[in-house]
């Protein structure tokens, strides 16, 4: 339980500083510190058990399906790292309190810091590699926020993004590696995996898993060639650099290599990958550090170098090297954190971090200088400081490790690395603190308040203490940790300043002397270095990202160029390919159903249809002609429906078609009357090809199934229509009863269409659309009589007649072709006739119907009819019918389906009228006053009394 608490406390506590900042900066820092301290105390409470060799474990189910369990365990390695993270965390919190200025949002800083701390603790306590991955990515995210904390600095933003990209990317590779590892081990639980060394190393997937996991470790720990992000992350506030980029986060990679050491290490692949990478990083990092003038950059590269050193040690795969690695991790954490804080103090006091502008600070800020010099000397590997001891151990190991059979190459490079390390450390001491005082510091420096130097001072105390009494101060911890890393018996070693006159000591001395020489010859060397052509990693990275972004942008824009024509052409092509491909994959036999003979009339109708389609394609640019040709197609199709025993379809098709025609004519009034020729010949040919292929495909498909027999469920509908549905028109019974739910959806589609149309048209009464409407000029000469007399008279007669016909079609629908939908259209058409003949103004004044209401009422009535069945305990839309006899009338049928059809009827009338009437309402904006007389000509009027208008 307490392990979970330790891992989750920082997360839960992350809210605290955000709240406490209102109570002041001290309260904020204190609350943050309290959270960390609590976690540390909890950790230490577990320590005795761990020291006794126990492994503390807490397990909770999280995602059993995935094998991702919230399992935490605490062994030596975990305890070591968790202690490191929390302890240094405490110091950083203290330091940051004084470091951050009043303008910096401190609450935010501590929130991010605690999030990061939680993620780090989570990594080191995880007993499930997937859980570890969760925390791993969380460190990337929280460090992104911390690095970008000073958002106004472009370097901060870029550095944050780069760090996120590199470490996040490595983390993603690691996900794959961990999944493979889990696959090999059959579990994602670390304790299980750690016991399967043989199985894992024997697996053919060992190498990919190793490479992928190492990618994660190397990127996180800034190993060559992924080292470049770390120096740029230094744009972060110094407490961040000190915490993340020296003491903790960059050590996550090392931690993981140490964690996995028992199962992954010891193979050739491991050695060559890890040790080589570490070695190169060690040398390269040190080399670059020597020539950095920015204090933090120097420290950053030195960190890279030291991380390489530890990596190399882990790569050796020997227990002794592992011990050295653990010890150096501890030592590096102490002196490097102190150095960062020192650099931060210098920056804070002098307002510069440029070595070239510093020097002679020892006299001005003696406390800071003391701390800095001691820490730097430890970094240089000078006795009797802790850095010296662990470097000795490293050299000892390196000196008898051959590389590719060559015994010299590795020791030589390691020695070079040590020498360079000494050199940049000495430079840090000499060029910052020593030398004469200057009078051109940007700000006159003096020692900071105690709160600020206390943290590095404590660390330097540890540096000295470990150096002097290594076995006493650090011995148990190192033994415990190394034991956990090795997972077996510890090698024979003892931590001590003095091991006698060993070759390692010689190399050490050589390194220190060489370092002094390099310091002495720094200026010419720097000139040489600056003249050297070298790849600038950041620029490469930036260029890479920019290039990728540009390519992505170009590709995306080229693909999504807004050309609907192309989108549709692709869609059609896809359909043809998929359809064709599907056809070729399955068995196909010719149909056996006898075909119907084709008398002359259908052949003629066919010619009519094909002719109309052809003329449509050829003449479509004249839009009115296109509409007429479309009408011909619709007419022919309706005729075909009638001929082929589908009278209901014919009725619906023809009435829908006429309403559509009216609608399109209304729209065409304001649209251009001609379509310009704006496709090239190749494009038209391509479209033609696609069209022909589509036509062939659809036709062939239809022919294929029409010529074969099948069994269908509709025999049931034919059989049940009258006895079960109470109607003889099976199509109508299907519509209102068997599949009434479809019809319910269908009228809703219609209702929605009318609502959307209304909304669209309503919107045309504002903004640019209204402007264009008001300025609209008719694009044709217009006849002078708006409402021809004969038409008016004829439509007056037709209105009652049509309504009668509509009602007839409605009532008959259940038993013969017709029904609510067609009836609705007939009535709507009759009403539209009034509008067409006498004009919008006249007809609208007389129209008492609220079309919104009619449409909505229709849907509601249809729905309520369906819901009514609930009262009888039946499902939605269950119908009932009965035969009623009222003497002297004949028996007649009453069916609830009629109620449903009433709903359909009303919805259709309401929707059609809502759409079309509003369309002409919008048109009224195109011109001035329009007569609301029923007809323009009044023959009863004596023209002599009327003046010419």
């Amino acid at each position: 339980m307490s392990l979970v608490l330790i891992a989750l406390l920082p997360f839960a506590g992350a809210l605290l500083p955000a709240l406490m900042i209102r109570a002041g900066r001290n309260a904020c820092a204190l609350s943050t510190g309290a959270v960390t301290l609590t976690a540390l105390v909890l950790l230490l409470a577990e320590a005795p058990a761990v020291l006794n060799g126990e492994v503390v474990q807490n397990r909770f189910d999280w995602v059993p399906l995935l094998g991702l369990q919230a399992t935490f365990f605490l062994d030596g390695l975990g305890l070591f790292f968790a202690g490191l993270i929390l302890t240094i965390g405490l110091l950083i919190i203290l330091y940051a309190r004084f470091y951050l200025s009043k303008d910096d949002p401190m609450g935010q800083f501590y929130v991010f810091l605690l999030l990061f701390q939680g993620a780090m603790v989570g990594i080191v306590l995880s007993d499930n590699i997937l859980l570890l991955l969760v925390f791993w990515e969380l460190t990337s995210l929280s460090s992104f926020l911390l690095i970008g904390y000073w958002k106004h600095l472009p370097e901060g933003r870029q550095g944050a993004r780069m760090a996120l990209a590199v470490t996040g990317g490595g983390g993603l590779a690691m996900i794959a590696g961990m999944l493979i590892l889990g696959d090999i081990a059959g579990s994602y639980d670390l304790t299980t995996i750690l016991q399967q060394r043989e199985a894992i190393q024997a697996s053919p997937l060992y190498l990919p898993a190793l490479v992928l996991i190492l990618l994660g470790c190397f990127t996180k720990s800034a190993q060559f060639p992924f080292h470049f992000w770390l120096p740029h992350a230094m744009a972060a506030p110094t407490p961040v650099s000190a915490y993340l980029h020296s003491a903790t986060m960059v050590k996550a990679g090392l931690f993981l290599m140490a964690r996995m050491w028992p199962v992954l290490a010891g193979t050739e692949a491991w050695f060559y990958l890890v040790a080589t990478t570490g070695l190169v990083t060690l040398v390269v990092g040190a080399g670059i550090a020597l020539f950095k003038d920015d204090l933090k950059a120097l420290l950053a590269y030195s960190t890279v170098s030291h991380l390489g050193l530890v990596t190399m040690l882990l790569g050796f795969g020997t227990p002794m090297a592992a011990v050295a690695a653990v010890f150096h991790i501890l030592n590096h954490a102490t002196f490097k954190a102190a150095l960062f804080m020192t650099a931060g103090i210098i920056d804070h006091e002098t307002h510069t971090r440029d070595i070239k502008r510093l020097g002679g600070l020892a006299g001005l800020m003696p406390v800071t200088a003391t701390i800095g010099i001691v820490a730097a000397l430890s970094m240089a590997g000078v006795a009797p400081l802790n850095g010296f001891i662990s470097k000795e151990m490293m050299l000892e190991e390196a000196l008898h490790t051959p590389w590719a059979g060559n015994p010299w190459i590795l020791p030589a490079l390691v020695a070079l690395g040590a020498l360079l390390s000494a050199a940049y450390s000495f430079r840090f001491v000499a060029h910052v603190f020593l030398g004469p005082k200057r009078d051109d510091y940007p700000h006159h420096p003096h020692d900071p308040p105690t709160g600020m130097w206390l943290a590095p001072a404590l660390l330097v105390a540890a540096v000295v203490a470990i150096g002097l009494l290594p076995a006493l101060v650090a011995g148990p911890l190192v033994a415990l940790t190394a034991g956990a890393v090795i997972g077996g018996p510890l090698p024979d070693y003892y931590l001590s300043l003095w091991h006698g006159l060993t070759p390692a000591l010689g190399v050490s001395l050589l390194a220190v002397l060489g370092g002094l020489v390099l310091l002495w010859r720094h200026r010419p060397l720097e000139a040489w270095w600056l003249a050297l052509p070298r790849p600038e990693a950041k620029r490469l990275f930036d260029r890479g990202v920019e290039a990728a972004a540009t390519i992505c942008q170009r590709t995306t824009e080229a693909l999504h160029d807004g050309s609907l024509r192309r989108y549709l052409a692709i869609l059609v092509t896809a359909v043809l390919l998929v359809g064709g491909g599907a056809f070729l994959q399955g068995g196909h036999g010719a149909g056996t159903r006898p075909m119907l003979t084709a008398p002359v009339l259908p052949v003629l109708a066919w010619a009519l249809l094909v002719g109309a389609c052809l003329s449509l394609v050829l003449l479509h640019r004249n839009r009115l002609l296109a509409l007429i040709a479309t009408s011909v197609v619709g007419l022919t199709v309706s005729m075909a429906f009638i001929y082929l025993s589908a009278p209901d379809l014919a009725l619906t098709q023809i009435s829908v078609e006429v309403v559509t025609t009216i609608l399109l004519l209304l729209a065409l009034n304001l649209l251009p009357k001609r379509t310009p020729l704006d496709s090239s010949l190749p494009r038209r040919s391509r479209d033609g090809l696609l069209a022909v292929l589509s036509g062939l495909g659809a036709g062939a498909l239809a022919f294929a199934f029409m010529t074969r027999d099948f069994e269908t469920i509709s025999d049931y509908h034919l059989a049940q229509s009258y006895p079960g549905g109470g109607g003889t028109n099976v199509v109508n019974v299907i519509l209102v009863d068997f599949r009434g739910f479809d019809t319910f959806g269908e009228i809703i589609v219609l209702g929605i269409a009318s609502l959307a149309i209304f909304a669209l048209l309503d919107g045309a009464l504002h903004g640019p659309a209204l402007r264009r409407l008001s300025n609209w000029q008719p694009d044709q000469r217009r006849a002078q009589d708006l409402h021809p007399l004969m038409l008016v008279v004829a439509t007056r007669v037709m209105l009652p007649l049509s309504i009668m016909v509509g009602l007839y079609i409605f009532l008959r629908g259940h038993n013969s072709p017709g029904g609510g939908f067609i009836a609705g259209l007939v009535v709507a058409i009759a009403l539209l006739m009034q509008y067409m003949a006498s004009g919008f103004a006249w007809a609208q004044q007389r129209m008492q119907l609220n079309y919104h209401g009619v449409m909505a009422a229709g849907v509601i009535i249809a729905g309520l009819t369906g819901i009514g069945a609930w009262l009888a305990g039946r499902p939605f839309l269950t119908s009932d019918f009965g035969y009623v006899t009222i003497p002297p009338l004949e028996k007649f049928e009453l069916a609830t389906a009629m109620g449903f059809d009433v709903g359909v009827f009303l919805t259709v009338v309401g929707s059609v009228m809502l759409a079309l009437a509003n369309l002409s309402r919008v048109f009224r904006r195109t011109e001035g006053p329009v007569s609301d007389r029923p007809m323009d000509i009044d023959p009863s009027l004596d023209p002599r009394t009327a003046g010419r208008s």
Partner: protein, 140 residues
């Protein structure tokens, strides 16, 4: 409908009507294709076709009467066509005259005002021109 002569008579009538219908239907469409300009073409379908379809409707009526079904609803369609055909022709003619600016070809109206397609109607007597601007729908 056992009685043989009535049956034959009815059948003959049906046949006759169908033939008449066919002939006139065809002639109407032939005229539409053949005649030289729209105004003359207009005559063909409005008349001949009306009789054509009327014949077919009558044939249907007679046929069903003879086979024992009393059906008169074809009358409705005939009625409807008689009502609409002149309007259709009228509108087509107006459209043609308007679209071709044929004002000069027409005889004078003999009145103060020209033909309605070309000349605006006089305002209605005593009433002021009830003009309304962009009327709002009742529900809005």
């Amino acid at each position: 409908m056992e009685s043989f002569p009535l049956d034959v008579l009815a059948e003959l009538l049906v046949v006759l009507l169908i033939v008449i219908a066919g002939v006139f239907g065809l002639v109407g469409s032939y005229g539409l294709a053949k005649l030289p300009d729209l105004m003359t073409r207009l005559h063909a379908p409005t008349k001949a076709t009306t009789l054509g379809v009327g014949g077919a409707l009558l044939a249907s009526m007679v046929y069903f009467l003879s086979s024992g079904t009393f059906t008169l609803h074809e009358l409705l369609i005939t009625l409807f066509l008689l009502l609409t055909a002149p309007i259709t022709a009228h509108m087509v003619a107006k459209a043609y005259l308007h679209a071709h600016g044929a004002q000069e070809l027409l005889p004078p109206t003999g009145r103060k005002y020209g033909w309605a397609s070309f000349d605006a109607a006089p305002p209605s007597g005593g009433d002021a021109l009830d003009s309304i601007e962009a009327p709002r729908l009742a529900e809005d």
